[in-house]
């Protein structure tokens, strides 16, 4: 394959340190590795309890509390209520993952849709929508979320709604910025001039082009939402015990931090691994979709 003469001098001029080995497999690994991690975590949380002999996460016997790891029937031991830690981690993971997925899906669809609509419609519609979101964004997110959570109450459904309050404006902003950027592109101008309806423009032209940016943001959003859900549960809002979530497990574990640190460590590690997985996956996707 011939190097075009224009490319040769400038490309070779960059100073990149030691030469890098063939990059194709590295790129594939960068996407595959976090993807595998995410899949493993999903499988562990959703499938494993169905097929392996894992105890129930709640209703433990208080006499059975604080058993150490490797006790028969309790691989990671039990917490101070007698509940199996491994089970709580897996079921807690289910909850946390479901919340994160739903919230990001809502954000992607509603926020993404509103943002694109605002950009496309322009004028008053745009102004109103964006002012509304500006107000939401002006409040530091944790304060807003705590307040909303209080007014809605705890529990799975309300936690999802609360977090959506925070996710939708964020997606809307990104979506609007991308849509505005694309609006100036020749193909968009052409579509508009040829009389294509707004709806059709949104679906056929805009969506496939802002899709990648939003997807990448959604991946990063997974990590963010999981951490914030954890924070909510940590503060005693969000998911209430005895139903497990990584956040409230960390909160409960805090009370006996010096005595049984593992109660905090296990859910923290799981949270960390999941967030890393999603963050890396998002980064790899972004690199793939914006790079050469």
């Amino acid at each position: 394959m011939a190097i075009t003469e224009a490319a040769t001098p400038s490309v070779l001029m960059t100073d990149e340190g030691p030469p890098v080995p063939s990059r194709a497999w590295l790129r594939r690994l960068r996407i595959a590795a976090p993807a595998v991690l995410i899949v493993l975590i999903f499988v562990a949380c959703f499938v494993l309890p169905l097929v392996a002999p894992i105890a129930k996460p709640t209703g433990g016997d208080i006499l059975n509390s604080l058993q150490p790891a490797f006790t028969p029937g309790h691989l990671l031991g039990t917490d101070d209520n007698g509940n199996d830690i491994l089970a709580r981690i897996l079921y807690g993971g289910r909850t946390s993952l479901i919340v994160a997925l739903t919230v990001n899906l809502l954000g992607l669809v509603i926020g993404g849709g509103l943002g694109a609509l605002a950009a496309q419609a322009g004028g008053i519609v745009d102004g109103v929508i964006m002012r509304l979101f500006d107000v939401l964004i002006a409040i530091p997110s944790l304060a807003l979320i705590v307040a909303v959570s209080l007014s809605l109450g705890p529990g799975l459904r309300n936690t999802i709604l609360t977090l959506a309050f925070f996710s939708v404006p964020a997606f809307a902003r990104i979506s609007r910025a991308e849509a505005l950027r694309l609006r100036e592109q020749p193909f968009m101008v052409a579509a508009k001039l040829s009389g294509t309806s707004t709806g059709r423009i949104l679906v056929r032209h805009l969506a496939p082009n802002i899709g990648p940016a939003l997807m990448t943001f959604a991946m990063l959003g997974m990590g963010i939402v999981m951490v914030i859900e954890g924070a909510l549960s940590f503060l005693g809002l969000g998911i209430r015990p005895p139903a497990p979530s990584w956040g409230n497990m960390i909160f409960q574990g805090q009370l006996s931090l010096s005595g049984t640190p593992m109660l905090v460590v296990w859910p923290s590690v799981m949270l960390f691994l999941t967030v890393v997985g999603f963050n890396q996956f998002g980064e790899a996707l972004r690199a793939r979709w914006s790079g050469p």
Binding site: A2, I3, T4, E5, A6, T8, P9, L12, M13, T14, D15, E16, G17, P18, P19, V20, P21, S22, R23
Partner: protein
């Protein structure tokens, strides 16, 4: 005849990157005398820019430079970086193509000049400022005091290039390399900058290397011309001789491709078909052969050597053009 201030002999530059090896400069030889201007003409990828950056030691770590380049007797090839830094900007300096991007937009013009001055001599800020103002006048910038405190975006393109020249001349270099220095400017400004360079050359005695793709520029402003193709020198002669007795078919093609007013309108521009070769896989024979109108079978098999066939006139061709012969 003054002694050569820069003697380049069999200069080679190769890049090793990602397992691929590219020979960007494949044996370049020339001499530059004080107060003279040498034009290095070629297409992109011919190696003209790479060879000059090699002289300055400005190539990335993936580049390997071999051969010899002596500046006033000092060997530049293989010189360690900290030593090279003393020469860079002081003995040999460079002016780049795009003055808009070559100046730091957030730094005042004056500071960018004094920085160059103080890189090579420990002078007081006040003395450096005086010298900078001198330089600004030297390059014919009006109201130097005002311009000293301004930012690059407040100057016009031509003025920015003059600032670049001022920076390059700040430590009185023996050799000034103008790498496509006027390509990004409009024709009028181009002429002004070239006139300025010529004037500075005669005033300061600096030797100048003009790198360009524009043969016309060489004709107007250079004393000697070297034509490069695919990393090699293919023709080298004093300007008058080159234009009077052009030998290389490639050089003829370059000349013929320049649009001229004398030709009738709507005449087809004689464009040479094809592309320059891939520098990774160079053919065994003459590199221009696939595009040459005069090519013979032996041109494909063996490479013609770059030899001084006539006095002061070097070329590499099996079937060079004769005087007055059309291409």
């Amino acid at each position: 005849m003054s002694e050569a201030v820069l003697k380049v002999e069999n200069l080679r530059v190769r890049f090793d990157r990602g397992g691929r090896r590219v020979q960007a400069v494949n044996g370049l030889t020339y001499q530059l005398r004080a107060g003279r201007t040498l034009a290095i003409i070629g297409e992109s990828g011919s190696g003209k820019t790479v060879s000059s950056r090699a002289l300055m030691g400005l190539l990335p770590a993936t580049a390997t430079v071999t051969g010899s380049a002596r500046l006033d007797g000092v060997e530049l090839v293989g010189m360690p970086e900290d030593e090279m830094r003393h020469h860079r900007g002081a003995d040999i300096a460079m002016v780049f193509q795009d003055p808009t991007r070559s100046l730091n937009p957030t730094m005042r013009v004056g500071t960018q000049i004094t920085e160059a001055i103080r890189a090579h001599s420990p002078v007081e800020p006040a003395a450096a400022k005086r010298r900078a103002l001198e330089l600004l006048s030297l390059v014919r910038i009006a109201d130097p005091h005002r311009r000293f405190h301004e930012y690059p975006h407040q100057l016009s393109g031509g003025m920015r290039q003059r600032v670049m020249i001022a920076i390059a001349l700040s430590s009185d270099p023996k050799v000034l390399i103008a790498d496509e220095a006027t390509t990004a400017l409009d024709v009028t400004t181009q002429a002004q900058i070239m006139e300025l360079l010529a004037e500075l050359r005669s005033r300061l005695g600096t030797a100048i290397i003009l790198i360009s793709h524009d043969l016309g520029l060489a004709a107007s402003y250079a004393d000697d011309v070297i034509v490069m193709y695919a990393g090699r020198a293919v023709e080298y002669a004093p300007t008058r001789i080159l234009f009077a007795q052009m030998r290389m078919p490639y050089t003829r093609a370059l000349l013929d491709a320049i649009p001229r007013l004398e030709r009738a309108s709507h005449t087809r521009l004689p464009v040479t078909p094809g592309q320059p070769p891939d520098l990774i896989a160079l053919p065994p024979g003459c590199t221009f052969e696939p595009r040459c109108a005069r090519a013979q079978p032996e041109c494909r098999d063996s490479r013609p050597p770059f030899v001084e066939h006539e006095i002061g006139h070097w070329w590499a061709c099996w079937y060079p053009c004769k005087d007055g012969e059309p291409l």
